[in-house]
Every structure is written in C-alpha cells, then in structure tokens.
Symmetry: C2
Subunit: 328 residues, 2 copies
Amino acid sequence: MPEARYDVIGIGSAIVDILSRTEDDFINAHGMVKGTMALCDAARSKFIYDRIGKAVEISGGSAANSMAGIASMGGKPCFIGKVGKDKLGEIFIHDIEVLGVDFAGSAGTLPTATCVILVTPDGQRTMNTFLGACTEVGPDDIDEKKIADSHVLYIEGYQWDTPQAKAAIRKATKAAKSAGRQVALSLSDPFVVDRHRGDLLGLIKDEVDILFGNEDEIFRLYEAGDVATAVERLRGANVLAVMTRGAKGALVFDGQTTAAVDAAPVEKLIDTTGAGDLFAAGFLYGYTHGRSLTSCARIGAIAAAEVISHMGARPETPLRDLIVKHAL
Amino acid sequence: MPEARYDVIGIGSAIVDILSRTEDDFINAHGMVKGTMALCDAARSKFIYDRIGKAVEISGGSAANSMAGIASMGGKPCFIGKVGKDKLGEIFIHDIEVLGVDFAGSAGTLPTATCVILVTPDGQRTMNTFLGACTEVGPDDIDEKKIADSHVLYIEGYQWDTPQAKAAIRKATKAAKSAGRQVALSLSDPFVVDRHRGDLLGLIKDEVDILFGNEDEIFRLYEAGDVATAVERLRGANVLAVMTRGAKGALVFDGQTTAAVDAAPVEKLIDTTGAGDLFAAGFLYGYTHGRSLTSCARIGAIAAAEVISHMGARPETPLRDLIVKHAL
C-alpha cells in the first residue's frame, strides 16, 4: 500500500452513551426490540432516561468506537463527526482525542447526540438514539485531503438515517476512490438494513471493498436464509465480507474462499455494546498492517471479547497489549 | 426524636465530577495543592480538562454524595442544590433521584458545575471546581417546610464560597432550629477553613450541633497543633465533633469524652474522593437511627472504606448490605 497518514478514517455519529442495566420486562413494556437500535426524538429520549435506573455515561458511537479501538491497538485513526456546542460534545472530543484518534469533526447547532443503552441480564444491549447534532453532518464536513491520506475509509450504516449524510458519504467515497484507497462499510443494525436496503446494495456494488455485518444484517441485506445463500450473493457483490456471528465467531469471505474464526473466550459477558465496532477495529488494524485475513479476524475477535467483558463500548485494556500477548 | 419525613436534608453544590488518574508531577506543574479543592473559572477548568488523560464522569458534590450514601443505607435523605438547564444537570438529578434521594433543588441560568478531579497513584484526590449554577443558590432555594421535616440539616463548608449562600444557610439553620431540629456542618476543605474561619466559628458557636472535619481542617479552624488542644477548644464550642483521620480512623468528641474508632480495612485504596462525605453519611445515618456514637462512627468508617476502593464519590455497593454484614 502507498504511504498514508492514517490507517483508517471513520465517518460516524458522535454519541455519548448512557448505559443502564435493566430486565427484559422493561424492554418489552417500552416497545423496544431487544438487540437493535431505535431512533428517538429528545422527548422520547428523556422519557426513557427518566425511567431507567442507575446509569453511567461513556463516549460511544459506532465508527467512533472502532477508531478508538484502532488507536488502542497502536494504529493511526481519524474520525469525522459532529458534536453539539455543549459539555457532552467537549467530553466526546476529549475522550476520543486522549486515546490518540485525530478528531476531524466540528460542532453543529443541535445538542450532542446521546444513546440510552439498556443492558439486559444476558449482556445484550438495546439502544435508543437521539441523533441531535449528528443529523447536521453534510458534505462540508468531509475533508477530502484526510480521506485521500487514509488507507481505508470506514462508514457506519447508521449514517443512512441522517438526511445530508448520503451526500457526505458520496463525496467521501469519491475522494477515497480517486486516491486509490479502500472503502469499508459496516451495516450497523438489522433495521438500518431494512430501511435502506436499496441504497446500501447500490453503495456496496459501486464503492465498497470491505463489508462488515453480523449474520442477521447480512442475511437481511441479501434476503438470504442461510450462510451458503449469503456467500453466493456476496460473491456477486465482489467485496471482502466479514460476517460476525456472536459466540459462534466470524466468517471472512474473500470472493473465493470462506475462512471461519472462533470467538475469543470471555470470562463473563457483561455488555455486548461495541462488539461489532471493536471486531471491525481489530480487523482493519490487521488489514492495514499487512496481516493475513485470518489474523485480521482473530485480532477482531480479541478486541470484541475485551469490550464485551465490561460496560461501555470503548476498550478498557490497551488492545496493543492483547495483540502482543496473542502473538498476532 | 419527633417524627420526620427525612433523616437528613443536605444543602450543597450539585456537581458532576470528571475524574482522571495522573502523576504528582502534573499536580505540581499546574500549580495545584495536592489533596485540596481549588475554585476555577470556566476557562481554567477547560484548560485543565484539555490536558488530562482518560476521564470518567460521575455525579458528585460533597453534601450530595453524603445524601446518596444515606439513601444507599436505606435512610431518607433530601438534597437542595442548583444545576444548570443542561444535560449534565439532567444527569445529576437522575443519578441522585435513582438512589432514592429527594431532589428539592432547581435549575439556574449558569451551566451545571463540574469538578476536574486528579487522582494520583497514592489514591489522593486534588479538585478543580467550576461552580457554575451552584453560585446561584440563595434564600429562595430554601424549602423551610422540608427542613422542618428533617431530623438533621446538613451543610457543606464549600457553601461559604458562593455569595448568596450565606443568606440561604442563615434561613435554613433558622428553619431547622425553630422546628427543634439539629444542624450539622462539614468543614469540607482546609482552604475553605482558612478563607472563612470567622464565619465558620460564628456559625458553629450559634447554630451547629454536629461538626465534621478531618484533622487538618479542625486543627486549622481552632489553630491547634495537636489533638489535645483541638479537643479543648471543641469543648468550648459545645458541639458533637467528628474528626476523621484517614487511615488512623476517627475521633468522636461529645463534649466530655473522646471515643476513637479504627478505619475500616480497604483491600486497595483507589481514590479517596468522597471519603469524608461518606463518613459523614454513615455517621448521620446511625445518628438518626438511634445508634450509639461509636456505632455511628463505625458505620461512617465502613461507608468511607467502600467509596475509596473505587473511582468516584458515590457508593457502588449497596451500603445497607455492608451495615447488615457488620451487624451495625
């Protein structure tokens, strides 16, 4: 690969997570679908927040978590996103910069986004996102020079829920492609796939080199009922596909062969928030550092295992140490 | 004691703490005095925040921590303080209410107060407080009915640093006294004692029934160089005095006899933030539940030991369980 200032530049939602433990009954009683992300306005967000128990606030956001993970591995990430001109925005920027991520975003006019995340006793997370300033991301936020100076442009699927973001992503992918860089996409959420299947399939066909999704998301995207069908349809899409499967590990499909990687052991599953984000982080760190595809997925599995062993979607243990420990 | 809706009603600063680990060099290089609290404006607060490493945000505030502790013991506390009309204010109120404290405060026009707390490797904390909306606390915030309906009115010494708070405290102590209730005061910080010695001595003489302070604060207040001198001067003040002494435990002086209580064992000292607040919480819980003075101090010691074994000034383990476990 030609030299680049950044390993990965991510475009995503700049969110501060509000995490709270709850029972399944609460999820059901409030009309949430366990394990998914629902968008909500400020009033609904406040309604839910007023009804949850003890909470902790930890910076989050899918692509932001991935960039934080890459920094924790010793990589060079950059993040583009929009915060509000408020204390949570300051906290978001502080938390990401202190990990070593270059924050190339700015402050909008709306408040900083928050996500009320309910963690059930099985460790599964259910998210309620108030997008706030994230909805203001547009083409002007795209720094084409920084994108051209990054090995990989990483886009979270959640971006499809914000109106001007599509134009921003088009500008970003164009900048990446013109510079001969790779484009990676995370599908983010099964409902995101349902809402934007056509757009996502078009983007994957035209622009995406590396696709991340869990089994449910990829099955929904290709309306497939089993792995064989999904793989067949991925072959036509001409992408490197990384399908995470929770405790079953992950599959990497390079267009010809499918490699399976086991999940890394976890002493106690505490909170799955960020599992997919950190898997992508590990994979992309390996990918931009010349590792084999299997090693990339193993690094992803180790990073995901770290993040699900505590509350919050940002690594607590320096991931570089874990990579060294596992000789990856 | 006559019946009361609340065990303790606390007046204090409504603060969200921003906690970060640092080395002693950082404290020295930035002109801070280790172990104390310094007031700072928004610019100085931002200056420090921009220079610290990884941080966590946890609701704090001295009297608020004490009320949170009493709730965690199963007591009935109320808190009066002022937040901003912002997300941190919402978080502060959520965090205190969810523990079972009745929030009798309101929102001011300035931002919610923050305290950048630097925790050095020895577990000691050094605080930089931006008071924001806390400076707006005044007589109008004092709910005399709620004070009259509380066994003890608890005031933090920090309140002396805000201009209208003195009038508020005069109104509050008057309401407590008229209803035949007790008034407790925490000295809070050695520099607070230096700044307001005259005011504090006057308040203690006229209004205070129970005085909390650490050795340094009480020595400074009475310009005493040893325990014997301090006790002699406390005798003249006619208060029940509780002097905390860190790892050396605590002394309780009831005007006639001095009782010593050992510190509760701590497996690993992580962060002393809130030690004094939780000692006071335990003491006042015992005091308002008919325990002997020695038992009160033991409950205080156990609560303090819990809070210094993790980051942040709010209990993580339900303190009621610890009281039961220790048969107090």
